[in-house]
Symmetry: C2
Subunit: 324 residues, 2 copies
């Protein structure tokens, strides 16, 4: 069973915890986002202050239907975290977040069951139930933005592993002699193909190519600028996009060989350049994946930046379906 | 349920198809190997001749208990293959093996249910039910010999994926700028850390180091020679072992981050050097895996070169347990 048997008139709240914003949404059983709200993450206040923000966001987005009509809440959080135990182990971008029993605290405060998941995995769940992966048994969701994360649906279930720590997709070494990742491991996929890497490559490249359209920009260069300039025909930008696409292709070939998905879904900020990247990724996969893996489609996330929000609500629906 | 509820006095036959030998064994419900037999693989005869060899091996190993006391047969085969469909797609080392419906043919001939699995996955199943991975929910088995293969047990089940093609562990790029793999993909783990790679590195290194004990050998250098010379204190051999251990470590860090196993089990020919390799692998993992993954033990396969044979029988027992 991979499509939730949730009555359309059921409701759940999904929360997406990020380093800059805490977002929440009321979602119905069809995956429709009925209300949303967000607050700037209270970094200085620490975990309890941020959990207080989550609590007030739940109240706010539930107002239209009434909080008593919301039986469960799901939370997507950066990790590493132990989803089964409901504990956040650390969040590199949020100082002071070490071994936080988020599920225990938040479910006490709200008086409702709370389910926690790694943000990449939760976004995968969102795309699985309500997005591009609907109805599939095997698919991989990759989010490419500041870092690279994701989640894996394998044989009709969310791949969890020990302490539910599976599918740290960005932290596979694809070029052992390559640049050091912020995790300390050399040549991680994230260090080579994230939006951060694309921006850094662009900033380094303009120093060598002052005639490029990119060199004329006064603000700090990002991946978004590269995609815009490439679409306008700038040769340097097109070369940077080709490099980005090839590195994405290298990692995707690995994911095909390791998980054998029916579909690869790309989300995150870099997916704004999907039209430009897709032919390059496709060509790499068609050249380097072993033949039985070459026909697997690669598509853009259907839920865009809401995969995690909607996925967190789907996680809540799943937890209800699993109850005896 | 990850320990088979098989009565000890049940029997199954496991077959391990290799490029040089076809092996078969009668195995009881405790995983004990009661009889074994082998034939040189009839490469020239093609698939039907080899299936004939399998048939006669099944008869031979079943003689002591009687063929009617053997309710099912399991086959481990090189791939890629579609285990669910029971079809071998191709076997690079066996010419003429393309889209062979092995399960259909062999079960017709034997009048018994036959189950097929990729050799790496089947060996993982053997170690899971009767070896080093007994009782675990999440573990990864890696076989390092001519190539690198393996299988993944995730969340208490064998990871299958689309067309049961998951866990081609040897074909993840770990050094994109590295040597081309025989699969056509650059820098696969197999191209850098297999026994074949170790032997090739040794043959290249002795040209530069004529004083090494390895340079004195008259036969073609293999990984086994390297381990022996390293154990005897040869500096070049120790350097080659250190390089092999580091590359194994690079791939194992990836497997930890991607699958989050509780245990990593190493089998195959290169595991003969396990005592020498283990401290090097361990040091690499302790340095480069993300902290929550560092405590995962890495051990040698308990069933040695019989993981696949015993695993093929375990596959047969599993198929019986799954019947209505």
């Amino acid at each position: 069973m991979n499509v939730l048997a949730v009555p359309e008139a059921s409701f759940a709240v999904g929360i997406d915890l990020g380093g800059t914003q805490v977002r929440a949404a009321l979602v119905d059983g069809k995956g429709t986002l009925l209300a949303r709200a967000a607050l700037p993450t209270d970094k200085a206040g620490g975990p309890k202050a941020v959990l207080g923000q989550m609590q007030s966001l739940v109240h706010e987005v539930s107002r239209s239907v009434g909080l008593d009509k919301v039986p469960a809440v799901g939370v997507a959080s950066p990790g590493p975290l132990d989803a089964r135990a409901g504990v956040i182990l650390t969040i590199p971008t949020l100082p002071g977040w070490v071994d936080i029993p988020l599920v225990e605290w938040l479910s006490d405060w709200l008086g409702k069951p709370v389910t926690l998941g790694n943000d990449g995995v939760v976004a995968a769940v969102g795309e699985w139930h309500f997005g591009a992966g609907r109805g599939l048994q095997d698919f991989v969701y990759v989010t490419v933005s500041t870092g690279i994360g994701g989640g894996v649906i394998a044989d009709g279930r969310v791949l969890q592993g020990r302490r539910s720590l599976a599918s740290h997709l960005g932290h596979m070494t694809v070029e052992a002699s390559g640049p050091l990742c912020q995790c300390g491991n050399p040549g991680c996929w994230e260090a080579l193909a994230s939006g951060t890497a694309l921006g850094a490559n662009a900033r380094a490249a303009v120093l060598q190519h002052p005639a490029s359209r990119l060199a004329a920009l006064t603000e700090p260069l990002t991946g978004q600028h590269v995609f815009e300039a490439a679409a306008q025909g700038d040769a340097l930008a097109q070369e940077l996009v080709a490099n980005e696409g090839r590195w994405l292709g290298v990692g995707i070939v690995n994911l095909l060989h390791l998980y054998s998905p029916e579909l690869v879904v790309i989300g995150g900020g870099v997916s704004h350049g999907f039209e430009l990247l897709h032919p390059i990724i496709r060509q790499h996969v068609d050249s380097y994946a072993m033949p039985p893996f070459r026909s697997v489609p690669i598509v853009r996330a259907a839920l865009g930046s809401d995969s995690g929000l909607v996925g967190a609500a789907a996680l809540a629906f799943m937890s209800l379906a699993e109850q005896p």
